[in-house]
């Protein structure tokens, strides 16, 4: 009987010890797995954050522009994005200032335009030449006297056009100088454009009296490529 009790106790101790040892082994595997899972999750979220950041970073404008004249204000400042294999597409957003002149007040205008610059010719040194650019734009005057849709007082349709939104078509050329990566901006481009707006085209269409000079508008600008 004594033996039996001793045996049971020893057996129980052994069993307990064995079980503890086994449990210890299981626990360490679990912890490791948990840690791995945790790391994986961290990495995953890190990746997601990066992706999110990259997505928004793409919205950071790539360049700044300053423009003189060109039917969108006396002086305009803007920013934009270039894309395409050779950066041949550009979307510009500009804010123009129009002094008072003989009107009642100075005005601010907004311009959204799309540029296409298909060719690039390398000149000597860090200079390059883009022989042709074409841009299609929309300009709006921020002023109460101008409307997109005719005010309600008019029996519709009365005038059949908007005084507020002008469509612009310009062609031009550019010269650029590459400054390299260790400058505050990578490249500076100098451009000029010649173009006209929708209402001038309509006017010129039916009249011989209007000469090209009457309806054409010239602009000069500088573009600072930052990213």
């Amino acid at each position: 009987m004594k033996w039996f009790i001793i045996n049971v106790i020893c057996g129980a101790c052994l069993l307990l010890a064995g079980m503890t040892a086994r449990a210890e082994g299981v626990d360490s595997v679990r912890t490791q797995r948990k840690a791995e899972r945790y790391e994986r999750r961290v990495a995953y979220f890190e990746k997601r954050r990066e992706k999110y950041q990259r997505g928004w970073e793409r919205l950071i404008p790539k360049y700044q522009i300053v423009q003189f004249a060109g039917s969108i204000g006396a002086v305009s400042v803007g920013t934009g994005w270039d894309y395409g294999k050779k950066g041949q597409w550009e979307t510009d957003f500009l804010l123009g200032y129009l002094p008072r002149f003989s009107s009642n007040e100075g005005k601010v205008t907004l311009t959204l335009r799309e540029n296409y610059i298909p060719w690039r010719v390398k000149l000597g040194g860090c200079w390059s030449y883009r022989p042709f650019s074409v841009s299609l734009g929309m300009n709006t005057v921020l002023d109460d006297e101008f409307w997109v849709k005719e005010p309600e007082r008019y029996p519709a349709p009365y005038y059949k056009f908007s005084t507020r939104v002008r469509f612009l078509l310009f062609v031009g050329q550019r010269f650029a100088v590459d400054l390299g990566e260790n400058h505050w901006c990578k490249r500076i481009s100098f451009y000029y454009e010649v173009g006209t707006c929708d209402l001038y085209l309509i006017s010129a269409f039916s009249n011989k009296w209007l000469r090209p000079n009457d309806i054409l508008s010239l602009s000069f600008g500088v573009k600072f490529q930052i990213l």
Binding site: I72, S203, D214, L216, L218
Partner: protein, 266 residues
């Protein structure tokens, strides 16, 4: 050779300066301003002491630059007209350059001309350009013993928030009695009854005009067709000229005891 190249550069630069435009609605006027202010003394001087006065009424030049130029060439070919009245709608879109273009064409006339405000001239900030290039929207002048009172009647453009027609101005003309006036000729862009006119005051306006000495008829433009209406059934006629596309104008002859007009095609 070098001088030639320089000359080309200078010419190109001057051409380029001509093409600097800040905005189609910038009201940055190039060239002559206050045309009515300059032409009215010429009309008054040319007609002073004359019994018979002859003038042409045209209007709505809008986008018809070629036709307007032909009108000027035609009118310069005859020497029996004392002056021209442009009945309004100088521009089509109220763009600054439109006012300059029509001014430049009309300035080629040998005789003086006056220009009224049309509804299209108010679009955008066209009113500012009109006032700068031509002058006030309400004005009057004498041609011999005939007094012309030119009124802005484009009420709809101002959403009835401005006094149009400006009765205060009309009363001031009435009070400002010019003794030598034997006939008064009211001129406006839009005649009473048109949707553009403030028709709540049509009759009041007409009755007030009738109080002017020798008021026999009124003139207007706007309708893009020839008009001849006894609008208030009282024998006072409203004559309207057509637009430039129709290539005609009204030629009026005023004598102390008679007036008449004919439609002239060119």
């Amino acid at each position: 050779m070098e001088r030639k190249i320089w000359l080309i550069f200078v010419m190109a630069f001057l051409g380029a300066c001509d093409m600097i435009e800040y905005h189609p609605y910038d009201v940055r006027i190039h060239g002559e301003t206050d045309m009515n202010g300059k032409n009215i003394p010429r009309i008054e001087a040319a007609c002073a002491g004359k019994d018979t006065v002859r003038f042409a009424l045209m209007g709505d030049t809008q986008r018809f630059y070629d036709e307007t130029e032909d009108f000027v060439t035609h009118l310069n070919g005859r020497n029996d007209v004392d002056f021209v009245i442009h009945g309004g709608d100088v521009s089509d879109f109220g763009l600054t350059k439109e006012f300059e273009w029509v001014r430049d064409i009309m300035n080629k006339l040998d005789v003086p001309y006056v220009t009224l405000l049309g509804n299209h001239d108010v679009l955008g900030n066209g009113l500012d350009a009109f006032e700068e290039v031509f002058g006030a929207v309400n004005f009057d002048f004498m041609a011999g013993k005939n007094r012309f009172i030119c009124l802005n009647t484009n009420a709809l453009e101002f959403d009835y928030s401005h006094p149009i027609p400006d009765f205060k101005y009309v009363y001031s003309l009435l009070a400002d009695s010019v003794t030598e006036v034997s006939r008064t000729v009211p001129v406006m862009h839009v005649a009473p009854g048109d949707i553009e006119f403030n028709n709540n005051v049509s009759l009041v306006f007409h009755e007030l005009l009738k109080r002017f000495p020798g008021m026999e008829f009124c003139l207007h433009a706007h309708d893009h067709k020839l008009k001849e209406d006894d609008l208030f059934d009282d024998g006072i006629m409203y004559y309207g000229c057509s637009y430039m596309k129709d290539r005609n104008y009204l030629l009026f002859t005023l004598t102390p005891d008679w007036y008449g007009y004919e439609v002239v095609y060119y």
